[in-house]
Amino acid sequence: MKKLTILISCLSLVLMTVSLSCAAGTIKIGGLFAVTGPASFLGEPEKRTLELLVKEANEKGGIGGQKLEAVIYDTMGDPTKAQQLATKLIKDDKVSVIIGPSTTGESMAVIPVVEKEKIPLISCAAGIKITDPVRSWVFKTPANDHIAAEKIFNYMTSKKQKSIALLTVTDGFGASGREQIKTLAKQKGFTIVADEVYGPKDTDMTAQLTKIRGIKPDAIICWGTNPGPAVITKNVKQLGIKTPLYMSHGVASKKYIELAGADAAEGVMLPAGKLAVYDALQKSDVQYKLLKGYDQSYKKSYGVESSTFGGYAYDAFLLATGAIKKNGSSPEQIRNGIEHTSKLVSISGVFTMSPKDHNGLDLSAFEMVKVVKGDWTLLK
């Protein structure tokens, strides 16, 4: 009899410790980033940001008493690979939430998997089709391109500029921007008088610009990522074109000014995510402290400037951990928590999700800036 009591007490002790260790267990966050390959400029800062944030959170004792663990795989920018790795994250690693993938193509490939397995996915890709139509388990953090375009249009309206010459790059970013600008221009009553394109590796755009110069539009909008826009900026100066030049948020980094040269970039206007221009923001801006903190800790850890792309992973991390703190750490609880996020101050903007909006950003995600003497100045 005595033996039995001892055995039972021993057993219960074991059970207790087991249940205790369960309560203090780890929450697994999956990461799918294109760390190598053509989209590595997206994936690398995203991976680094997530690792940095998980480390910082664990040093502070984890989220709600639970440690975090990041399981990150490199998708190499390949949709097939991303899909396989997503299955691996869910089946083998048993993650509660997935952050990534980095590109729109990969995200679209992963969506059927997470919808079937009911694991929340917070994509770091910008494509509008990821969250339009809304799918119950899929969210994304980068603002839609048309918000950036709308920001430009609003500014142009205030300057009474009506006719637009478009110059877009012939890759996914440029093609999507071109479509959205054209639709938006029609809605808002602007006329597109020139619709020119250039290749991502083109080295001279004077031909397109000479044609545009002959048409005399009120404004030129160029939609692309470096180095094209820098070449265009130089060409505009060479041809002596005085028409206002707008760029996309794709070049909102100091690198653009460096490549184009401060002299040629003078006066160029663009909608920028706040991280790129946080120096120029009011100290009272709600995002200021967070942006500065992220930039500085990123620089300290990796010795390079933070980028908007890393910010997407930051947003996803805040959304996920915010939901865990509020609701709990099961996939279902995380999903519901993210969907009810309200006024979450993060890097890309202030997120307010709803069952109808799984992106949660509005026009306030961007600031219109102008290049003055090699630096950004806010436009009011």
Partner: protein, 293 residues
Amino acid sequence: MQFDQLLQYTLSGLSTGAIYALIGIGFSIIYNATGIINFAQGEFVMLGGLLTLSSLELLKLPLWAAIPCSVAFSTVIGILFERLAIRPLKQPTPINLVIITIGGSILIRGLAMLVWGKDTHAIPPFSGDTPIPVGGATILPQHLWILAITLIIIIINKIYFYHTISGKAMRACAYNRRAAGLVGIDVRRMVLFSFIISSAMGAVAGIIVAPLTMTAYDVGVMLGLKGFCAAIIGGMSSGISTVIGGLILGVLESLGAGLISSGYKDAIAFIILLLILFIRPQGLFGKADSERV
């Protein structure tokens, strides 16, 4: 169509065309000496630009010193390439050699990506960037540098190939390798020479365009292909016809983008390439070879 617009298209086209020409000549020199098409030619263009950048920023050299330094270094890489990848080949059939140059170009590009990263870099222009008006159109001082340097290189080439012993020996190799060997020309050394000349020329092309187009680890691909087009139009001659080929290509691209549609800019180059290969494989100015039995 206004005159100043046409003039601008032509001027832009000529300056881009000069670059294509310079790269194209690099292709034809190696082709003539060895019978292979060196697809790594574009990578020397990239190396020229990026090595100049490193000389400027890491070694803190002034521009006039950074340029020869970078050309010399690219040439050394060209020599290493020939020594390590081309010469040891047991069966130097053209197809093997071409595949090796493609492999070499991927290797060089990959290494450059590791050394310089994936970012695009800018190099300051040689003499300011105040546009020069030319009858309603404008060009940059850098365009004049490109045209002038291309001209000088072509003249030096001409002198070398027609008025020096080693230049004549190289032409002899191009004409008939076995006969050249029989009269005592060291064919293998001529092959090495051809790699030296063309890697140096590629590097020069890369340096003089970098202030305009900027440079990155992958600029060699497209410039290399365009240079190859120029060489094909010129019938793989290492002289004036490749230069004209490059200029024609540049001007047609620019006129096509301006007058037809900018969406077809690159297509124009490759349509010309295909047309030439189908209709006049000997080049625009070449006489068809009559093979004697």
